[in-house]
């Protein structure tokens, strides 16, 4: 059972609806970098801990801390214990900027890990002068491909595949699926970097939708707008056709559109592709989408399923969660968080005992692609690439929210964000999890 949750971006939609409506090489290694002592490595994270988005991603810092606590209980990293300072950004750009600056200036963290969101992190990165202060910005949880710009974001390392990659792989899914290929196809997407990245990906893949994509500003999608969009599309297609409806938006926006389809009795009219973000079944169900509606929706993932106890990573992370994150249900967010924490530990180890910010980033560039990880897609770090995972597999949700791989087995495609090169079938085999989940690299 595999689900498709990913931590990319969330909009303000649900709340509005409820309302009714370095170049690192240029910086010399410095043994006196902040946040590192003989006994401690201090890391920082900003994420939504309160506010509406916390409902989805509030588990993120706690799960990372749980893994670090586990590592600390097993000797730490080169004798140093990891401290994670977690600050609440509410998924608001100003607050993300404020709290990231606090992490750097007040808490004097060594590095930022696992920050969430595009608009939030765009503002935070500049406000906290992460580049000028040479603060490593590790495993950012956004699919915006713009962060893979080493000139603009010299200290940033992405972890999620980009929205553009996802769009290219969706295009391939449609082209390779006989029941989808001949059908008219439509796109409803967020009118920001999420949607723009997606539109770019479809263009690169050469996929042409049957009509101009419908783009909505995050925060202003209402039931009426969603119903209007679906009704317009429905009126434009022949009755015999079962059009492909691609949704590139946050889970709450996706839920709104699916509920609009329910109201208009159009759920079975379309073949829905909700992608990696909007296809989070747990959240869709929690937001009131009927189980029957999600049954059959296509969604994407690059992870094993968080309930697949036969998966060695899932199994180990579950044990850690049970002991160090008591009372928190293990799910895809926890899996993602612990995986990023494990990547962080490997990066710290790879940087060696003489830990510096520049050394840490160099270690990821040099060795990051070899780190053990739960991801089923490869990591792509190098001296010229800050891209993390670069692939997806597709499945279909069933009525209980399980994501079943298309064709019965996981078939993962990898691609890039910038070229028209078609996605390729991945032959990547991930590394086994380190013994007891404790990296020894």
């Amino acid at each position: 059972m595999i689900r498709n949750t990913r931590m990319k971006r969330i909009s303000f939609v649900s709340t509005v609806v409820v309302a009714g409506a370095m170049l690192l090489s240029t910086v010399p290694a410095n043994a006196a970098d902040p946040g590192v002592t003989a006994t401690e490595i201090k890391l920082g994270i900003t994420s939504p801990k309160t506010g509406t988005v916390a409902l989805s991603y509030g588990k993120l810092p706690g799960a990372m801390k749980a893994y670090f606590d586990y590592i600390n209980a097993n000797g730490g990293v080169n004798g140093r214990k990891i401290t994670l300072v977690s600050r609440d950004d509410k998924y608001l750009p100003q607050q993300a900027a404020t709290q990231t600056r606090n992490l750097v200036l007040s808490d004097k963290v060594f590095a930022i890990v696992g920050a969430l969101g595009t608009a939030t992190h765009t503002k935070a990165y500049v406000a906290a002068q992460l580049a000028k202060n040479n603060v490593p910005d590790l495993f950012v949880n956004t699919g915006f491909s713009g962060f893979d710009d080493k000139t603009k974001y010299p200290t940033t390392f992405l972890v999620l595949p980009s929205y553009a990659m996802e769009a290219k792989i969706i295009s391939k899914l449609i082209a390779d699926t006989p029941t989808l290929k001949p059908m008219p196809s439509f796109l409803i997407a967020q009118d920001d970097e999420f949607g723009k990245d997606g539109v770019k990906g479809f263009a690169l893949a050469g996929h042409k939708f049957s009509d101009t994509p419908i783009l909505y500003p995050a925060g202003s999608l209402s039931a009426a707008i969603a119903e209007g969009a679906l009704a317009k599309i429905n009126a434009a297609v022949p009755s015999y056709a079962k059009p492909v409806m691609v949704l590139m938006g946050t889970t709450d926006s996706t839920a709104l559109i699916l509920k609009a389809a329910e109201k208009l009795s159009l759920t079975s009219k379309f073949t829905w592709i909700a992608g990696s973000v909007g296809g989070d079944a747990n959240t869709l169900l929690a937001l009131g989408v009927k189980a029957a509606t999600i049954d059959g929706i296509y969604a994407a993932s690059f992870f094993p399923d968080a309930k697949d106890t036969t998966d060695q990573y899932v199994s180990q992370f579950m044990k850690i969660n049970e002991k160090y994150n008591k009372g928190v249900t293990f799910d895809n967010v926890v899996l993602q968080a612990m995986n990023s924490a494990m990547l962080t530990v490997q990066a710290l180890r790879a940087a060696g005992k003489n830990l510096t910010r520049a050394g840490l980033m160099k270690a990821i560039e040099d060795k990051g692609s070899t780190f053990a990880s739960a991801g089923l897609a490869p990591l792509n770090y190098s001296a010229t690439s800050r891209v993390g995972y670069n692939g997806y597999w597709f499945g279909q949700l069933n009525a209980t929210g399980e994501l079943k791989p298309v064709g019965g087995k996981v078939t993962l495609y990898t691609t890039d964000s910038a070229t028209a090169t078609a996605p390729v079938l991945s032959t990547y085999t991930r590394k086994p999890i380190p013994k007891n989940g404790i990296p020894t690299n």
């Binding site: 303000f12 409506a21 608001l92 100003q94 000028k132 995050a218 925060g219």
Partner: protein, 534 residues
């Protein structure tokens, strides 16, 4: 969102806007001959005896000097901020040319009690009186030194426009001061006014094309035009305030918005238009009442903080900035002899920079909002006509002093990150100019220390679902809104530097501000420059 939720916070914008910007300077109170009297006051229970000397220089600038009986050898030479260039009784504005000797009465008294002499000029003309203030300050310095030969060290400091004139004084007359303190530094006239006038042009273009905005007639007719413009701007702010109260997510447009019909037809809300105007002109999205970080507890929390709070902050800040912009522009047009503002080639969309990504949602989306505003603001759009400067006036305006960054004595700045009148980019420009000056060999390295003043992480408060309207800005927000202890910390650093000839070390500064969580020093911190410089 309930229609009543914003009501409390959005009233009384207009009155506050008219008085708050100019309230920085404090009035206090001089012939070619300096007249001194003995005086005393009680500071924290201690009687402080001093001589109060007054006079008027040969240009007509009144000045005041206070010399404590227990003088420590250092004089604090203060330059006040901008004041109204004339009285406007219809708007309740009065003219003031009295000298100021310190940023506030309390700061002045504490310094006097600690043995510092105080001095400052009123300046014979007000408005953008940079040139006149430099001369007036030279004169009061001379008068003080003649009257009191015991003056050993001079710290020149000032705030806002007074900070600019202080820095201009130090750059043009090296040796006049032993240390310099530009507080909430104003940028050069071109940079400051471009920001204000872009905002006003935006108001005109989006909301009321009958606003003149610049190019005022001479004499009484021009003053009448100015007052009419201010009235129209206030009407817009009042309308938007009410509209944001009634319908915060999809507020309507005023009937005067006759050029923006395409935007209105496209369903773009006026809140996104106002945010666009604020972002393209560099108005802070944190204001006295709105932090862009808080929302009422409940389902609206994130939406309020992300979609509405930045817009409400622009409304609160912009209403004050616009009033200052109208009056300062009028004054500078009189000085230049015509219109100097020119936006014929401004690319307003490019000016957004990263804000286009950060505020995409609040701007109503990329393809609809950003693209719609971009098309509307295109310089080829006849519905949004650009303004061309009078070449002669522009040439004369450009002769006004520009920051050079030439620093030859210890200099300590203090700057708020959310000052909506003198944004932190002004200090950043000084930092950049100083770096260039050091590279050119015109300045000595290591003389400039910048203290940054950040707002509290969150400060918007709510009563139920309704945001509260603050009457007093929290520290870090608002114009030159420093606390007495912050002024005193800077004054002491400056005085020590004047004596040592060296800028305070990082350790010294850290110790001086260690108890103030709103202050920080980070050599790597970089504020965005004013839009004019970007």
């Amino acid at each position: 969102m309930k229609t009543s939720t914003l009501k409390k916070s959005l009233v009384a914008i207009t009155t506050a806007a008219l008085v708050s910007v100019f309230a920085v300077a404090i009035p206090s109170s001089a012939s070619a001959a300096t007249t001194c009297v003995k005086d005393k006051l009680t500071v924290k229970g201690k009687v402080v005896s001093f001589q109060k000397c007054t006079g008027t220089d040969d240009r007509g600038s009144k000045y005041e000097i206070r010399m404590p009986a227990k003088f420590n050898g250092t004089m604090m030479l203060y330059s006040h901020g901008i004041r109204y260039p004339f009285a406007l009784p219809a708007l309740g504005l009065t003219y003031n040319d009295a000298p100021d000797i310190a940023p506030s009465t309390e700061v002045g008294e504490q310094l006097l009690a600690q043995g510092f002499a105080l001095a400052g000029a009123g300046v014979e003309v007000q408005g953008w009186n940079l040139t006149e203030q430099v001369y007036a300050t030279l004169n009061v310095n001379l008068a003080a030194r003649m009257q009191f030969p015991a003056i050993d060290k001079v710290v020149a400091w000032g705030q806002s426009l007074g900070a600019l004139s202080t820095q201009a004084l130090a750059e043009q007359y090296p040796g006049i001061a032993d240390a310099v303190g530009p507080l909430c530094l104003a940028e050069s006239a071109s940079a400051e006014l471009t920001g204000f006038l872009d905002f006003i042009w935006g108001l005109k273009t989006f909301f009321d094309p009958t606003i003149k905005g610049s190019g005022y007639s001479s004499g009484a007719e021009g003053l009448k035009e100015l007052q009419t413009d201010i009235g129209k701007a206030v009407a817009i702010f009042t309308f938007l305030s009410n509209e944001f109260t009634v319908n915060p997510l999809t507020p309507g447009w005023p009937t005067t918005a006759t050029s923006a019909t395409a935007l209105i037809s496209a369903g773009l809300p006026s809140r996104s238009a106002l945010l666009m105007i604020g972002l393209m002109s560099g108005i802070s999205t944190q204001s006295k009442s709105f932090d862009s970080s808080s929302g009422p507890v409940g389902p609206l929390e994130t939406a309020f903080g992300g979609l509405l709070s930045p817009v409400l902050a622009v409304l609160e800040n912009g209403s004050e900035a616009a009033v200052l912009g109208f009056i300062a522009n009028y004054d500078l047009e009189v000085r230049a002899g015509g219109r100097f503002y020119d936006n014929t080639n401004t690319d307003y969309v490019a000016r957004l920079g990263a804000d286009a990504e950060i505020f995409t949602s609040a701007l109503s989306g990329a393809s609809k909002g950003l693209a719609g505003f971009g098309a509307f603001l295109n310089k080829l759009n006849p519905g949004a006509p650009r303004v061309k400067a009078d070449p002669g006036a522009l040439a004369k305006h450009n002769q006004l002093y520009q920051l050079q960054g030439k620093i030859t004595v210890p200099t300590v700045t203090i700057t708020a990150l959310a000052d909506h009148i003198t944004p932190p980019g002004a200090t950043q420009y000084l930092v950049d100019q100083y770096a260039s000056s050091v590279s050119n060999g015109d300045s000595t390295k290591g003389l400039l220390v910048n203290i940054w003043n950040k707002p509290p992480d969150e400060y918007t408060t709510f009563t139920g679902q309704a945001p509260d309207k603050r009457t007093v800005a929290v520290n870090g927000v608002g114009h030159c809104n420093f606390t007495t202890s912050q002024y005193m910390a800077v004054a002491k650093l400056l005085a020590a530097s004047a004596k040592s000839g060296k800028a305070p070390t990082a350790k010294t500064v850290s110790a001086a501000i260690k108890n103030d969580s709103n202050l920080f020093v980070d050599p790597n911190y970089r504020a965005p420059l004013l839009k004019y410089r970007q």
